[in-house]
Amino acid sequence: MIEVRIHGRGGQGAVASAEMMAVSAISEGRYAQAFPSFGPERRGAPVVAYLRISDEPILRREPILNPDLVVVLDPTVLRAADVGSGLKERGGIALNTCRKPEELIEQYGLPHCRMATVDANHIAQTIIGRAITNTAMLGSLLKLEPLVRLESLFEQIKERFPAVAEKNIAALQAAYDETSIHDFSKAIKGGK
């Protein structure tokens, strides 16, 4: 079972991206579970959504404290939430940032893990016309870990956002292509 925690701000589509990933995995015949951090939703406030994907039925109903993967939709969330909290040893973080990951590790005390970085704000702004980064960051997540097929996710985007599907698919593909992967966990191991 793979457990993913998605950090964003209210209105950026953290919950929708967890849902689309879950429905994509289910459409591929697997088991999945997606849910928000329950409570009143406030636009702009830090929010968390959870995603589990497994080859077996998923029984547990508790939030994810030790994720395998973390997605950060908005660079400013790094100031507001401890996004690396509880990350598993071989875990990874997909970050929306235009900065170098080394700087972010240093500044925010992020764990030395696998990292996928992409300037999703720029991609979303250019392709969609708004800095709604959830679909782009799913591209980055899939580059980090091929949890579902890109095509399954494209189907979900078409179903969910028919009017803006084309642009979101283009943003997802662009982010997938432009994401760079860094492995800081290796660096640590090598240093020991």
Binding site: A22, V23, F38, L59, R60, R61, E62, P63
Partner: protein, 391 residues
């Protein structure tokens, strides 16, 4: 043919109610139930469901509309949560007393105060004695299935009781997961159209809800209690038929690794999946622990639960509700009373946990079992323990 899809559990409920082809829906939106009636109103507006959707000004009116419509012979549905349910409370007793097969979905949520919107089972427990058949669900498939089965149970002429199906608010209602949706033909083959034996009809006048003098009330109440208890074998028969048709079997109390277990966890609702993983972990460590899931709350399956706990030394009951000023958890109190007259019976330790949406993690189930075993070996069992509370 059944179709496996990923969808929100609330929507699975609405899809089932659509397939059940209800005639009348009357509901008032309240968190965390809103998505159920929201989707049903869309189904009616878009012509997928030929039903009257009555928009009302309160939950009291919602259930009143259902009572009237059901008395007139319609298949009726409503959904609510928390304060909405207790606003319906007056009419809950009317619906069951009149033996009207109204079906309700409840996305269980805490009762205020303090004001809160998160989930537990305090709303269900507040209606313990209202005479409705009350069923707990564990996952999205269960919710979909029970949302169809409930009509078949409620409308069976050996039953004729309103029926409530409960899904944990948020922890179940707001989760996306795989659900196998049945086709219209499959549902139709299981659930025939509702044909009431008696209904309000201007051409054939009859009285429902007549005034009763003290010299008859007790006889009628006794009949009602006997009648509700007598639904248990019918509910089991209908669940069994569902299992034979669609491969998913349900029981009033279901057992997991309970055979020969010294310690059993008893819990109702969606958190039982997390408890099951805790049982597996404890088994791996060589502990002889099992799990009982309570599915049917009313009528309470006394004999089934006595049989299930027969060989155990200790039952650890985890309630997501508190009887304030009473014996702690309502399920624990029911179990204790069910076992009291038995010569040989396990000890019962009551934990109240997971109130107002507080999570219960796997290791916390393990901790509860350890604490309960500690109480037992110390020979000092408290009335109840509020688990994980900061004091």
């Amino acid at each position: 043919m059944a179709r496996r899809v990923g969808l929100e559990v609330s929507i699975a409920c609405s899809e089932a109610v659509t397939l059940a082809n209800v005639d009348v829906i009357a509901a008032y939106p309240i968190t965390p139930q809103t998505h159920i009636v929201e989707h049903l109103s869309e189904q009616v507006a878009e012509g997928h469901l030929d039903a009257e959707y009555i928009k009302v000004e309160s939950e009291h009116s919602a259930l009143s509309c259902c009572v009237g419509a059901s008395a007139a012979g319609a298949r009726t549905f409503t959904a609510t949560a928390s304060q909405g349910l207790i606003l319906m409370s007056e009419i809950m007793y009317i619906a069951s007393g009149l033996r009207l097969p109204v079906v309700m979905a409840l996305a269980t949520r805490t009762l205020s105060s303090p004001l809160t919107i998160w989930g537990d089972q305090s709303d269900v427990m507040s209606q313990r004695d209202c005479g409705w058949i009350t069923i707990f669900c564990e996952n999205g498939q269960d919710v979909f299935d029970q949302s169809i089965i409930a009509f078949r149970i409620a409308e069976d002429r050996r039953v004729l009781f309103p029926t409530m199906i409960c899904m944990d608010g948020f922890h179940l209602s707001h989760v996306i997961e795989p659900v196998e949706l049945l086709s219209q033909e499959e549902v139709d083959s299981f659930l025939p159209p509702y044909k009431p034996e008696y209904r309000l009809d201007p051409h054939r006048p009859l009285t429902m809800g007549a005034f009763t003098m003290p010299d008859y009330f007790m006889e009628i109440k006794k009949q009602q209690d006997e009648a509700l208890k007598s639904t248990l074998p019918v509910i089991k028969e209908i669940w069994n038929e569902w299992g034979n048709r669609f491969g998913r079997y349900y029981q009033p109390v279901s057992c997991y690794k309970a055979e020969g277990a010294e310690t059993l966890i008893l819990i109702a609702g969606g958190f039982s999946g997390t408890a099951q993983i805790a049982v597996d972990r404890m088994r791996e460590q060589g502990k002889n622990v099992g799990l009982l899931r309570l599915k049917l709350w009313r009528p309470f399956p006394h004999q089934e639960i006595r049989d299930a706990v027969k060989g155990a030394k200790l039952v650890v009951v985890v309630d997501r509700a508190l009887s304030v000023g009473g014996q702690g958890g309502p399920i624990a109190a029911e179990l204790r009373s069910s076992l009291y007259h038995l010569k040989k019976r396990p000890a019962v330790v009551s934990f109240v946990a997971g109130l107002s949406g507080r999570d219960i993690h796997i290791d916390q189930f393990v901790e509860m079992v350890e604490r309960a075993e500690g109480h037992l070996s110390a020979g000092k069992i408290p009335d109840y323990e509020m688990f994980g509370v900061r004091e």
